[in-house]
């Protein structure tokens, strides 16, 4: 069933339809929230706020347009609001000893260390660049769709993605095997 049909059913009171929408978009919504809020619990709270806010305002959803960008915009706003409310989060740079460590026998521990390094590197980027990068490279949205989600021109999205990638590349350069580890 299409997202728009599920949204119409959910608006009419069908809880299972809403549950299906949540299941479909739980991953992207949580990742977008985590790109803004480093604390996973806080990010999940923001993602939940976004879903519930979307449910309350399903009447404003245009079924002629894709549901995902509409929902993720609400989630992103909820996460940004939370971030603003608790003041500026101190961006933690990548731990200096992280790149120096070579993958050891404990592969899982190394992978987790790399994930932590990626999260920390992501946290050093401006919020908009983070979101543009995650929405483009992780969630696969187009520049135009991301522009609608973030309410910025397509060209700005392209620029943000470019600068975010370059910054991440520099931050991850010492971690030579990050591709293999990921």
């Amino acid at each position: 069933m299409e997202d728009a049909e599920l949204a119409a059913l959910a608006q009419a009171g069908d809880r299972e339809a809403f549950g299906e929408l949540v299941t479909r978009y739980a991953g992207p919504a949580r990742r977008v929230a985590r790109a803004i809020l480093a604390n996973p619990d806080e990010a999940d709270d923001a993602a939940q706020d976004g879903f519930l806010s979307a449910l309350r305002h399903l009447g404003r959803f245009d079924p002629e347009r894709p549901f995902g960008p509409w929902l993720l915009r609400i989630v992103a706003n909820a996460a940004s609001d939370r971030r603003r409310r608790r003041k500026v989060r101190t961006a933690m740079p990548i731990s200096p000893d992280l790149p120096a460590r070579q993958p050891g026998p404990d592969v899982e521990a190394d992978k987790e260390r790399l994930r932590e390094g990626l999260r920390d590197a992501l946290a050093t980027l401006p919020e908009r660049q983070r979101m543009a990068l995650v929405l483009f490279d992780v969630e696969g949205y187009s520049h135009r769709e991301i522009g609608e989600i973030l309410n910025i021109p397509d060209g700005t999205v392209r620029s943000d993605v470019f600068h975010a990638r370059r910054a991440l590349r520099e931050l991850l350069a010492p971690w030579k095997d990050w591709k293999e580890q990921g």
Binding site: V22, L52, R56, L114, V134, H143, L168, R169, W178
Partner: protein, 131 residues
């Protein structure tokens, strides 16, 4: 990473996969259950609003009819009062009458001839035209 230039706009699959793993914890199903459970409260609120709205809608039509009846009765009553006022005004004007007309009805040729003074031109014309 393939983006050697800002003009390379292909998704970076390697970076995307790495970031996806870094930002995911595999508990999406549990999260979905939590959101659906929280949605019950929202549905409850929406249901209460819908109930309020449906009650208002049910009463809207009879209420509108009643209001129209009241307005019609009020308009009819006001119309009667206006009508009475108009009639009174019309009677008043009839009482006042036309002074020239009432005078000219009393004027006749013998009266004019019997008068001591020379009759006014208007009075002569009035008598002549009546004939």
């Amino acid at each position: 990473m393939p983006d050697a230039s800002p003009f390379d706009h292909r998704p970076d699959r390697e970076l995307g996969d790495a970031l996806r793993q870094a930002l995911s914890d595999g508990n999406d199903a549990r999260f979905a259950q939590r959101v659906v459970a929280a949605a019950d409260q929202v549905y409850g609120d929406l249901g209460a609003n819908l109930q309020w709205w449906s009650t208002l809608t049910e009463w809207a039509r009879p209420g509108l009819v009643a209001a129209m009846l009241v307005i019609a009765i009020a308009a009819f009553s006001a119309g009667l009062w206006v009508g009475r006022g108009s009639a009174t005004a019309a009677n008043g004007s009839a009482v006042l009458g036309d002074p020239l007309g009432s005078d000219s009805q009393q004027l006749t040729v013998p009266v004019l001839l019997a008068g001591r003074q020379v009759p006014d031109v208007d009075e002569v014309l009035s008598v002549a035209l009546r004939r």
